[in-house]
Symmetry: C2
Subunit: 367 residues, 2 copies
């Protein structure tokens, strides 16, 4: 502008000098190219009704000015592309990536964007995650670990699909038939001849549990059951009681290393244990280590059944028998449920639509 030389805006436009280089707008491009807003729009969006030469000139001008259309202005006038929030407690836990991958894939197929929040590492809760996502998304899918009502309140009318917890007032929910899983596992172990069973539960309450129960009723067996606080754990305790089989229960933080230690103690207290079911495959990996530590052969001396069926199981030694969940299928169920909610074939305001999925026993070496 102030220079007398002719070649203004040579290559870089703003950026080098002065302040933070105020963002170029469509008007800047229009002015620089000697056309109107609408022509710039036509050039940038591959619309008809513009001469090829003009289009190229405008595009070049836009490039030189570093022009990027404001997604806000565009969204405001065109109506939102839907974007869904995905709340995950811990991507580091191999259970979740498989699920998340599926959600992202199917959401992308529908033209949605996925805003991901991996809230566990910051020590946040599921509700806080929803709070963080809320202003940015049109819907949320998530493993919140409870408080579905509160989360739905934050989202207002926008649909919320929660997993592995009662839907409550949430628009939709996907749960798992743990009673069926427990029955399947226990029957398999019994058929195998196991008589001294144990279950390793995860420590830390999952807020999905209906009541933080101490199982005040008749103790189903000799094992300690007081610590059982997850819904999975309750299902196994009840399943064992129903089947009239002894079940020792230990509780461990959700990691292989922790499960290894807990299992060592369990084996000290119950040396005759000959069958163990574990909260999930990751912890089962630690259980296998502990059994190896103690010199026991798997499955000869003690059988092990994991849960969830993550790919890791196949790589362990021995390969892990597990109550598998097709995590891509879980993701598909969540996305399709949300799709129904969004397109209105399902009513978000109505009572939460619940979908129940079942684990399937995958026999490998460990049991």
């Amino acid at each position: 502008m102030t220079t007398s030389s002719g070649d203004a805006s040579s290559g870089l436009g703003p950026g080098a000098p002065g302040g933070p280089a105020k963002r170029a707008t469509i008007l800047d491009v229009a002015a620089a190219a000697g056309v109107s807003r609408q022509t710039v729009t036509r050039a940038m969006n591959a619309m008809p009704g513009i001469r090829q030469e003009t289009r190229e000139r405008v595009q070049e001008t836009a490039r030189q000015l570093g022009y990027t259309p404001s997604r806000f202005a565009k969204g405001l006038v065109q109506g939102a592309r839907t974007s869904v929030g995905l709340a995950i407690p811990d991507l580091t836990n191999p259970y979740y990536p498989a699920f998340a991958s599926s959600v992202v894939e199917l959401a992308t197929q529908r033209g949605w964007h996925v805003v991901m929040d991996d809230y566990g590492h910051g020590g946040a809760t599921g509700v806080e995650s929803v709070q963080h996502l809320a202003p940015q998304v049109d819907a949320v899918i998530g493993y919140l670990g409870g408080a579905a009502d509160e989360a739905q309140a934050i989202l207002g009318r926008r649909p919320l699909v929660v997993l592995d917890q009662p839907a409550g007032s949430a628009s939709g929910g996907i749960t798992f038939d743990y009673a069926h899983a427990a029955r399947t596992a226990l029957e398999h172990l019994q058929a195998r001849g196991c008589r001294q069973l144990a279950y390793i539960d995860r420590a830390g309450t999952d807020h999905g549990a209906p009541e933080p129960v101490h199982d005040g009723g008749p103790r189903p067996g000799p094992g300690p059951v007081q610590g059982v606080v997850t819904v999975r754990g309750q299902a196994f305790a009840r399943g064992a009681a129903a089947a009239g089989v002894a079940l020792a229960v230990s509780v461990s933080p959700e990691s292989a290393a922790a499960a290894r230690q807990v299992t060592r103690r369990l084996l000290d207290e119950h040396p005759g244990t000959d069958g163990i079911v574990v909260f999930n495959d990751l912890m089962a990996a630690g259980v296998l280590k502990a059994l190896a530590d103690s010199g026991r052969a798997v499955p000869a001396d003690c059988a092990v059944i994991g849960m969830d069926g993550i790919p890791l199981g196949e790589l362990l030694t021995p390969e892990l028998t597990t109550l598998a969940l097709d995590l891509r299928e879980v993701g598909r169920a969540a996305v399709e449920l949300l799709d129904g909610l969004l397109t209105g074939s399902l009513n978000p305001a109505g009572p939460g639509t619940e979908l129940v999925l079942r684990h399937q026993l995958v026999l490998r070496q460990s049991a």
Copy 2:
């Protein structure tokens, strides 16, 4: 609408009848509550200058109408909250979640949102992923597997941080010192007394390779090296040549199962192999399986070194020695680099700032 009763909007507002229930705006709320736009804004955003009673009344009205402020209108007037795109080839590969988790955590700390794209499953490329993300984000971090220039062109002035490939015209890049990694691994194996080494490379070119070379120069050893196409593979081939050590190279698709098969063939062709380095830990798991299949003891008969240091390695039997990368640290580096680019302390237009990280040998049982 058709009813004569007076109680309009009782509890649910729109939604039940008619069409897709046009979205409620701030003006609807203002009218329903008998106040102005600005008062609604004040009520919804916890701003001062409003009576508590009014605030509650407005909030209740908003709730009843299912009002959710438009993120586009808000963004337009307030200036963008920055949101970054995260392009990941395959969340199912345990390498990436650890990285992604770190990125999400640190981005959230900065108040950014993360739009995730897991582009591999759809058969898309990194560039297509960037294309998909571009209209929605202010910057991109990603493993693109090449074509950084093209991706940067799509983003215009918006910063792009690429990983594990030359930055090219991208604003920033993070690469790994594979020459150092190769040297470390080979030296360790030699010191261990291994004499017949092998390297299992990943099939499929990573476009980051400077030239799709057939290594036309003098063959560094007896092993077949023609298939080496990844930068990692080249580093190992060169490292072996420099150290004057024989190195057989096999190529396998990126999965444990595939690596298992390839390793079986390798062992048939080179039965004397007593040390194997693998492209990554996931494939190394398959290599361990193959060695077990062949009746070889690890590390007594053959040592194995993996690469990248994912948590899986500790759970294998034997536990995997690996050239570990602190993936959370990689995420941190990417985010901090991007932060510099965004806040302007680094110049996005300038030549890409490259950062080189090093693998560290973590000794466990397998070597």
